[in-house]
Symmetry: C2
Subunit: 472 residues, 2 copies
Amino acid sequence: MTPTQRNPEERPVAALLAPDIQSLLEESPADVAAETEEMHAADLADVAELLPEEQVLEFLAALPSARAADVLEYLDEELRAELLEKMSTRQAAELVTQMTPDDRADTLEEIDEERAEEILSEIPAEQRRETEQLLSFAPDTAGGLMTTEFVSVPASMTVEQALEGVRAAARGGRREAMYAVYVTDDAGRLVGVLSLRELLAAPPGSRMSDQAWTEVVTVGPHADREEVARVTSNYDLVAVPVVSESGHIMGVITVDDVIDVIQQEQTEDVQKLGGMEALDEPYPTISFGRMIRKRAGWLSALFLGEMLTATAMGYFQREIDQATVLALFVPLIISSGGNSGSQATSLIIRSLALRELQLSDWWRVALRELPSGLALGGILGVIGFMRILTWSALGLNDYKGHPNLVAITVGLSLVGVVTFGSLAGSMLPFLLKRVGFDPASASAPFVATLVDVTGLIIYFTIALIILRGTLL
Amino acid sequence: MTPTQRNPEERPVAALLAPDIQSLLEESPADVAAETEEMHAADLADVAELLPEEQVLEFLAALPSARAADVLEYLDEELRAELLEKMSTRQAAELVTQMTPDDRADTLEEIDEERAEEILSEIPAEQRRETEQLLSFAPDTAGGLMTTEFVSVPASMTVEQALEGVRAAARGGRREAMYAVYVTDDAGRLVGVLSLRELLAAPPGSRMSDQAWTEVVTVGPHADREEVARVTSNYDLVAVPVVSESGHIMGVITVDDVIDVIQQEQTEDVQKLGGMEALDEPYPTISFGRMIRKRAGWLSALFLGEMLTATAMGYFQREIDQATVLALFVPLIISSGGNSGSQATSLIIRSLALRELQLSDWWRVALRELPSGLALGGILGVIGFMRILTWSALGLNDYKGHPNLVAITVGLSLVGVVTFGSLAGSMLPFLLKRVGFDPASASAPFVATLVDVTGLIIYFTIALIILRGTLL
């Protein structure tokens, strides 16, 4: 799991405890373990983040190694990497060995490769093999998310024997959460699952083959992490088994890691929707240079696209020269198209992400956005029309003597531009998905840029028709 | 839980099975229960959604009532409400009684109030009381999310006795998932927790008071659902106990409901970011009128704000009349400000939501966005400057004889507008949060509207300074 960075104000417990633990570390470090025994590792990690840097290592050393490993797992990624650099290879190996297999692999993946090799070479052979296997999967696949600690029993076992197996595993120092027992056939293939609750409720003498659910929801090791999240959420699971093509269970993904995936995906989507590359790092800690690079790419691309507006405006320069009053409404009209497009695109992106909509639904959406755009454009058109007539009546602007014609031009343009914005904004995510891009890249700025040029063409074309012979 | 609506293409299992089940229903309905026994209720719900409407009731009637209740929980909200309208009150009451308490309350909350009262009056007194208690909490609070089924034991019990209690509860037909045992003192107050795994690993003769963790992470019944999600995710929990002010455990929130909360919150955020009210219903099923209302409010508000651009442009009408070439770059310049503002606002909204940033960090962000804006504005400024000189060199536009001055004006304006956009976009979420609004309302369109007027003022002011005596 990747813990979320939190600020001191957000950690009242930790802020209260940090000074106590600090003085305890100075006066009697031997008592630290007992004093903090009942606290959640996440809170201890918060305390560690508030300690002076040189004391964090002392703090970890004062805890039993399994406990220190837990705290390390909850620490901010950067601090964790730094600590693993600073401590002795032996100490690092000891802590890393105590981690759950998935967190161990994630932790080693974060740090400097050479240092990771050093640490890996010092951990026991079994854990090393396990870790190397996990490291061979891409981090955003089921294989990269899973842990290799789980309990499986043969289908021929009785419930009582299975329960003994669970007890032995739970006592044997396995540290991953345990919610279910997986049942395998003679060839070791996964054939069933039983939750701990169901196992406890089952008649002790019955066979696992009779008690287990045989329709097991599983994912393959190369399944995308979004697919894992979807399966977990659709079936209300707390753990998803990862199964090889041959039907053998390779590991289990626990729900806490799925929640992290959902939140990371959401962060990426929000940032893409804002018209930039996903940062992949928290805003407060990413370096200035990396942040600028993530933002400058899209910003420049949008700018190049938006340059077409200058070309379009240049094309109508004669009309602007003749009736500069038209220029007044350019920002109002194109921004309305962008806003309606932004609404449509965020609706569709989210519906696609939730699988409420499929690629093949594009025409149904188009048939819905067409009247939506007309209705919304009609509302704005009426407001715009009234605004111009009111200003004219109040004597604030005479619109070169043709307030009615200008009002009609602006009103009709709004209907056209908002309708086009709604259609373009709703179709862009489908188009991006169709050609293999992430629909979330159909950001509000991207849609606005698309709509701006077309909006100008719609506006000036309507103006040419309505104002010909008067202003133009 | 509120199941996500899925389309037939997304349900290969269900699509394959639906015809089989349909013919089975017609030929030998008595076999339906046995044939579907091993299937996940979520899959059966998918099958039900693919059946002809008149057959869904037959399908539910063919299943054991506990199973039918599960299927009902996974059905699309609208279909579920419709079925509960159509079936007899007795059948509805039987199914609803079989639901877990939290889902029972959620289901009754969704349907017509009168019908809910009818059904409620037919369910057993104990379940009715339980449901009425749950219905008294707002649905977006911890009380509204919790279930009242959980296992608690006195601290004085031995591990063996507690395990027997768990077995009895698991066998006693309680249907909610069970992950932990809660430990209470003589006055019934929550004093500890032990996961099922830990309970199984503990020495049978030891006391629960010696085995349980005494620092329990809890929430109050009125805690906001976002707070529940944050606690669950920070501490990697699968269940969060809800505890009254007096320290008594009132219920438990399970992680599947937390995942639903996280996804609903994300849907709301994405829709708000798109510049509209959250729909609160799936896009494919919301009525046209409701959708238009949710979109028209913000769209009109933004339009009224954007009208200030016409006022600002009117203020500079003399300059536009004199140098219509200036009008060409209006869309390019103001959209660049909007785009940089959109990037900044989505970064900050997400960081605030993840608690990476606090309200008090606003000045740190401002100090970061100022140089970011200058850097990004510098990049766009150089591109814009080069573009104008290139067009002039190619003879595409003579910029009224002053290409260099126009290029300098546009370049400097871009630096100013993008810097202002980044600052305004990053500060708006803080401001909204400070005055008690949702920071996610600082949508890309909202920021763009704010930035557009200022952008025009920056542009024309710079033009007045640089072009005075030449074009102006």
